[in-house]
Structures are given as C-alpha cells and as structure tokens.
Amino acid sequence: MNDVQTVGDVVAVVLLLAGSFLCLTAGLGLVRFPDVLTRMHSGTKPQALGVLLIMVAGATGLQG
C-alpha cells in the first residue's frame, strides 16, 4: 500500500477526514433535530460541503 509521500497527499488526507466528519455531523443532526425542516437543513448543508471536500480530496489524490 502506498504511503503519504507528497504535500498533495497530506492535503488529500486532511480534506478527506474533514469531509467524513461533516458527513458524521449530518447524520447526527438528522437524529437529534426535532422537525422535518431542521432535519432537512442538517441533512443537506454539511452533507454537500462534506461531499465537496471528499471529491476535492479524491481529485488531488488521483492526480499524483
């Protein structure tokens, strides 16, 4: 398995972990919020940013 070698790999790993954490907060808000509209709020916005970060990490990781 290849290891973290360049600066791009470090950036990719950090973006990946941040995006995964945002997906976790989306699930957490989906369980804890009281109402459909607040659940929709918590299910869409951290989710979109998290998937965006993971896709950017994939782009920087697949480049090298």
Binding site: A12, L17, S20, C23, G27, L37
Partner: protein, 113 residues
C-alpha cells in the same frame, strides 16, 4: 494509510447508521426521504474515499450512478408529495404531511422552548 482508512470509514459509517436510525424511526414520509438522501450521499462519499485512498478511478462510474439514483428518488417522491398537496384542501396536514415544531407547540399550547 490504514489509520486514515479506519478514521474515514468510522465517521462515514457512524453517519450512515444515524441516517438509518432516522429512516426507521421517522414519523413522516418526508423524514424518510431526507434520511434516504443522506444515506445515499454517504454511500457515494464512501466510494469517493476508496477512490482517493487507493488511487483507483474504476469506481467513478458507480459514483455517478449512485448520485443519479439519489437525485431521481428524491425528485420523484417530492413530485408525489406535490400531488398530495394539490389534492388536499388545507396545508397538507389532513393527508399526513408533518407540521413544524413551532406549530405543534402553538397548537398544544406549550410554553415555548
């Protein structure tokens, strides 16, 4: 690299399990639609994590298919609920659509939050 795999899949799996909890418990149809959307996006995020960490671009078409499935599912259920709203006389709560938390508290005469 294994630590990064473990951390990323731990967080994604916890988020997916919480979305499954909401999918099972959700009192109305819209809760389940939102939970399904979140679950499918978490699945596609897991595929993207694999593609990024293993440097393997063969799962990218699968990613496109999962994203299209989530989009078409949400839009079709939203159109179904739009038809329910057109057929109901009031604001949709007579056909089983949910009401907001503030409306519940106002109707129940609660003391606010």
């Amino acid at each position: 690299m294994t630590v990064v795999y473990g951390l990323a899949y731990l967080m994604l799996g916890a988020g997916g399990l919480l979305a499954l909890v909401r999918l099972a418990r959700g009192p109305s149809l819209l809760d389940r639609v939102v939970a399904t959307d979140v679950l499918l996006v978490i699945v596609s995020a897991g595929l993207a994590v694999y593609a990024a960490l293993a440097r393997d671009p063969t799962v990218v078409p699968v990613l496109v298919v999962v994203s299209l499935l989530a989009f078409v599912g949400s839009v079709s259920v939203a159109r179904y609920i739009g038809g329910m709203l057109l057929r109901s006389g009031g604001d949709g709560q007579d056909v089983g659509l949910p009401e907001a938390r503030e409306e519940q508290e106002a109707r129940g005469g609660g003391a606010g939050r």
